[in-house]
């Protein structure tokens, strides 16, 4: 007995933990991976893809699916698809007990229906993303609990930073594991904010003192957006704006992280007026590393999920960069 224990101990001393696996969220309307996207998945050895199947919103007095993803092209056979469902907080605030039962059945049926068009393998895990509050927590947690009872799926949920920091106040969802979303830390509508996607001071302030009650993996941001301010007021986000368009000096003038519209023009389908201001927010390699180093001691992540997979990130982040992020979590 003693010799077995010694062996285990010795083996344990010699090796550092393997780096966490690297996965991605797919948060687009169509599942139609480009060659670049597929190559990125291959190069970082991604085995799991979290595909948003649909959102659930509360409309006309009942929960309804919206923005249902349309599969256009199959996925490599060895890629595990984790159906991911975004639920608006409003839904869980207003859904009645009777509606909740019906909702569970509807969601299961809908997920199965979409999954049959996406992947030949059975579903092993489903993830639910809902920014619950005190007014919706009880219903959301009940939804998760019942979902687990009704299916054989592992259930995971996204966890916001404040929920990580204050679990006794916000509650811990009854799921198999959580994915900590380390992004959208700042106040996007605040004009004085420099980067609302990831602010290290904000992240630092959310580092918890104790352990979280369920295993936690981590989601890190790999996206860029432009925050559009008009007449001094934030009016919309423009996702993945083209940097080459923004560098067109006949239409835009750049100063630090601000870009001013000097000639009214379209950008990503939005008509911008002269005088509009865009705050371009993106995450560079250094910031991503810093973030990983800061949060690593506070959680034991086995998986890093990058938000989110699209063609623009394949041009911005090399697979070495993403792998290095993974290595930070393994030391």
């Amino acid at each position: 007995m003693f010799s077995v224990l010694l062996l285990v101990t010795l083996l344990g001393c010699g090796n550092s933990e393997p780096p966490p696996s690297l996965s991605f969220y797919h948060w687009q309307s169509y599942l139609d991976l480009t060659t670049e996207e597929d190559e990125l998945l291959l190069s970082v050895g991604t085995k799991r893809l979290y595909v948003r199947y649909f959102d659930i919103d509360f409309q006309g007095g009942k929960p309804v699916p919206v923005g249902v993803m349309i599969p256009r092209k199959g996925i490599r056979e060895n890629m595990e698809i984790i159906p991911t469902i975004f639920i608006t907080e409003k839904t869980m605030r207003y859904v009645s007990n009777e509606q909740l039962e019906e909702l569970l059945d509807n969601v299961i049926r809908k997920i199965n229906g979409i999954h049959s068009k996406v992947s030949p393998t059975d579903i092993s895990e489903v993830q639910f993303d809902c920014d619950w509050t005190a007014g919706s927590r009880e219903r959301f947690f009940l939804f998760l609990k019942k979902m687990k009872e009704k299916t054989t799926w592992k259930i995971s949920a996204t966890i916001r930073l404040h929920q990580w920091k204050y679990p006794s106040k916000t509650g811990v969802p009854p799921v198999d594991r959580g994915v900590l979303m380390v992004y959208n830390t700042g106040k996007v509508s605040d004009k004085n904010e420099e980067n609302s996607i990831l602010d290290m001071d904000d992240v630092r302030s959310y580092l918890p003192e104790g352990e979280y009650d369920i295993p936690l993996d981590v989601a890190l941001p790999l996206f860029r957006w432009a925050v559009l301010f008009r007449d001094g007021k934030m009016i919309r986000l423009i996702h993945s704006p083209s940097l080459s368009e923004l560098s067109d000096t006949s239409r835009f003038s750049k100063r630090n992280h601000w870009t001013k519209v000097i000639k009214s023009t379209y950008l990503n389908g939005y008509y911008l007026y002269e005088g509009d201001e865009l705050r371009i927010e993106e995450i560079d390699r250094g910031l991503l590393m810093e973030c990983a180093q800061m949060i690593k001691p506070s959680l034991n992540a086995k998986e890093i999920v990058f938000y989110h997979l699209d063609t623009t990130i394949t041009k911005t982040y090399s697979h070495e960069t993403l792998e290095n992020i993974g290595h930070i979590f393994s030391h």
Binding site: N106, R230, I235, R236, G269, Y271
Partner: protein, 761 residues
């Protein structure tokens, strides 16, 4: 007494929680969409002229709903059948046949039209069915049967349904439909067949096939004046968009937007331009300036758009286009939200950032554009533009220019009731807003506005607008009472009495001659018995401060009917606090009688030395019971907030929903403590001294509740007896050390869990 043996804290808290919250008396105006402010622009100003306006106006949601109800696709379809079918029947009967009759019954109808049977029972008496049978409208009946066969493939099931479509069934129907189309002589029915076929292919994601069917059928159909053409075009545009031909699709959507009201909302949402090049390409597809205007109008409709920039472009090539008027009204309504929104009061004393420079520039840009267009005499609606110019001048703060513009605009709107009425509303707002001093003459005018001006009733935001502004002016004139009543009710003053306002209002109430406006304020905001009500409030204010002579003076001027509304007996002793437990004493006092009694006790306490201690003790009891903690709290307080208990360390004035200036609570028990101390000092009776010490301990406990130390009373909130710092238990200690042998001590130990806890700790 037995029930007091239960934990006092639970009873107090549970009773506190039963008290309902106040309802709101807030000023200002909320719209359903969250806008808080004033509206002088009538949302229906353009509606009479066209159904187009509500789709543009940001505030036109209610109008839009009405419009949608009138123009939904089903209604449009029925009207089409009424006009275009082979038999003209009433809408109700057409609806029965088109939407509710089964395919089986339609087959029977078909047989009847060929004299091979009678009408089905469900259609007997149906004018449309009978007409089609007797007129031998077999082509129409065949089409309706085909349409009913298509319907299951074209209507969406449950949002949650994920069943695959029956592709074979759709293919078969398309094939049958094509054959039927070719067999049909009636071009109107051919058009409907085309619509069904294209829709079937579109909904089955066969976009190119849908376009091919469209092109195949188009030369075979010769109908130009049917709404079905626009529906069909909508499907074509939808398929083009799905195939990535976004610009063509958007151009078609814009033409549908202009011409087909029932589809307007839908095509607006489908319209999509991604780049400057696409926009230029789309403009090139337009066949007329009118079509180009529609593109600019659709772009201007996006929330937060710079409408004036789009207007300038439209004006450049089509100055008289009606869309300019709609956009003008839209932009004014948006500016109104900025300049007459939540921060209207700030408008009076502009801060550095409100209304911000950008908003001012936006307003001035529109004003310059409007003025210039009027000067060039190139506007689609002279009257509307003239009054709009004046209103923009008003919003910019140039009241003088606005007044002159309104005067000049009057002849231009003559005969147009909507515009005449709008001008009157604008002029009225200007008139009110121009007052920077108020006098007897103006107050008479105001009274007249309240009494007879239709806008005081019809514009839901105008009264708030008027009174908010008047309140500011009165404040500047140091007439705080009137200023207060313009925006608050007497309940707000009761919640947190302000002696300056009370005295000012009493001076007003006792004026020899009140004008109608003053009378309106007093009667509507205070009540018919306003003098008595105000004196009662003044008397209560003094009572809370222990200023008994002043209280008596004020309360003696109150009518008995008002006085008797509050009946309490604060002299009733209770070992344990229970603010809502019914009294066991039949003796009750109104506030005047209570004041007399307190004065009498004070006098006797000083003069009747044999009983002085007893009088001091009862004065202490009375003053304790009139505070927040006692059963006679109504003597001091008109509204006792249940949750105030938990915020005691924050002060006496609590933020409360519905209490405009906060809700004052009466937590201070120092006066009663003073009397209990006097009682203990004067008495030789240990029983009375023990009671006084016990009551002093309760006063000390309330002092603890109000201290910062109580902020972290987790025990207390958890329903447990709190651990109190020793500086707040001095009287419990006195009771323990000095009066342990009294009967009262034993009773207190038995009945008061708190005391038992502290005595035995």
């Amino acid at each position: 007494m037995r029930h007091w043996k239960t934990s006092v804290i639970f009873s107090v808290i549970s009773l506190l929680l039963l008290i309902p919250f106040k309802t709101s008396f807030g000023c200002g105006y909320y719209e359903d969409d969250g806008y808080y402010g004033y509206r002088m622009l009538d949302e229906g100003i353009l509606e009479q002229e066209t159904d187009f306006a509500p789709y543009i106006l940001a505030f036109g949601e209610s109008v839009k709903s009405d419009l949608e109800a009138r123009t939904d696709q089903r209604t449009e379809n029925l009207k089409e059948w009424q006009i275009s079918s082979c038999y003209h029947a009433n809408l109700k009967d057409i609806e029965e046949v088109v939407y509710r009759t089964s395919i089986e019954d339609m087959e029977l109808l078909r047989r009847a039209s060929k004299k091979r049977g009678s009408l089905p029972y469900s259609l007997s008496g149906n004018e449309f069915a009978q007409g089609m049978a007797t007129s031998k409208c077999t082509e129409t009946i065949d089409y309706l049967i085909f349409a009913k066969q298509c319907e299951p493939f074209a209507t969406a099931g449950s949002e949650w349904s994920d069943e695959p479509r029956n592709n074979e069934g759709i293919s078969s129907l398309i094939s049958t439909g094509k054959e039927s189309l070719l067999r049909t002589d009636n071009h109107y029915l051919r058009l409907r067949y085309t619509y069904q076929l294209v829709r079937l292919a579109h909904y089955d994601d066969r976009y190119q096939e849908a376009l091919d069917i469209y092109d195949w059928a188009e030369p075979k159909v010769d109908v130009t004046d049917s709404v079905i053409n626009w529906w069909l075009l909508g499907h074509k545009a939808g398929c083009l968009k799905r195939l990535g031909r976004r610009v063509e699709a958007s151009y078609l959507f814009s033409t549908i937007f202009k011409n087909c009201m029932g589809k307007r909302d839908q095509v607006y949402r489908s319209f999509e331009i991604q780049t400057d090049e696409e926009w230029e390409e789309c403009l090139k597809m337009c066949k007329s300036d009118e079509e180009r205007v529609t593109l600019y109008t659709m772009r201007a409709m996006v929330p937060d758009s710079h409408v004036v920039e789009e207007m300038e472009k439209i004006y450049a090539f089509r100055p008289f286009d009606k869309d300019l008027s709609y956009l003008l009204v839209e932009e004014i309504s948006r500016l109104e939200e900025i300049f007459l929104g939540t921060d209207f009061r700030i408008l009076k004393k502009p801060s550095s950032d409100y209304p911000n420079k950008i908003a001012k520039n936006r307003l001035l840009k529109l004003l310059r554009f409007v003025s210039s267009a009027i000067e060039e005499k190139h506007v689609p609606d002279e009257g509307l533009w003239a009054i709009s110019e004046g209103y923009l001048q008003y919003l910019s703060g140039d009241f003088y220019a606005a007044k002159r513009t309104y005067e000049a605009a009057a002849p231009k709107v003559k005969g147009n009731k909507k515009l005449e009425s709008q001008l009157e509303m604008f002029e009225l707002a200007l008139q009110i807003h121009s007052y920077d001093k108020l006098n007897q003459k103006i107050e008479n005018e105001l009274a007249e506005i309240i009494k007879s001006n239709p806008y005081f009733e019809s514009n839901s935001t105008f009264p708030e607008f008027m009174f908010d502004h008047l309140s500011n002016v009165y404040d500047d004139m140091d007439e705080h009472g009137k200023s207060y009543l313009c925006v608050h009710s007497i309940n707000s003053l009761r919640d947190n009495p302000d002696p300056k306002v009370i005295n000012d209002l009493l001076a007003l109430a006792e004026k020899k001659e009140l004008n109608d406006f003053e009378l309106y304020l007093l009667e509507n905001k205070v009540g018919a018995e306003y003098t008595s009500v105000l004196y009662e409030l003044k008397g209560t204010y003094h009572l809370t401060r222990g200023e008994l002579s002043d209280a008596k003076l004020a309360l003696s001027k109150v009518k008995p009917s008002i006085l008797d509304q509050t009946q309490v007996n604060p002299f009733e002793e209770r070992l344990l606090d229970c603010v809502h437990c019914p009294s066991t004493d039949t003796l009750i006092f109104n506030k005047l009688q209570l004041t007399d009694e307190l004065l009498d006790f004070e006098y006797k306490a000083k003069t009747d030395m044999d009983n002085s201690a007893k009088y001091y003790y009862y004065l202490g009891i009375a003053y304790y019971n009139m505070t927040y903690f006692g059963h006679a709290y109504k003597a001091f307080d008109y509204f006792r907030g249940s949750t105030s208990w938990f915020n005691m360390p924050d002060g006496e004035v609590m933020t409360y929903w519905g209490a405009d200036n906060g809700n004052r609570e009466y937590f201070d028990t120092s006066k009663s403590l003073f009397y209990f101390e006097k009682a203990r000092e004067m008495t030789t009776d240990d029983e009375l001294a023990a009671k006084a010490a016990f009551m002093s301990a309760k006063c000390e406990l309330t002092a603890f509740y109000r201290s910062d130390a109580a902020k972290s009373m987790s025990d207390y909130y958890a329903g447990r007896i709190p651990k109190i710092p020793s500086e707040y238990t001095t009287y419990y200690d006195i009771l323990k050390t000095k009066y342990k042998d009294t009967e009262f001590y034993q009773t207190a130990i038995e009945e008061c869990k708190y005391f038992e806890f502290y005595a035995t700790k």
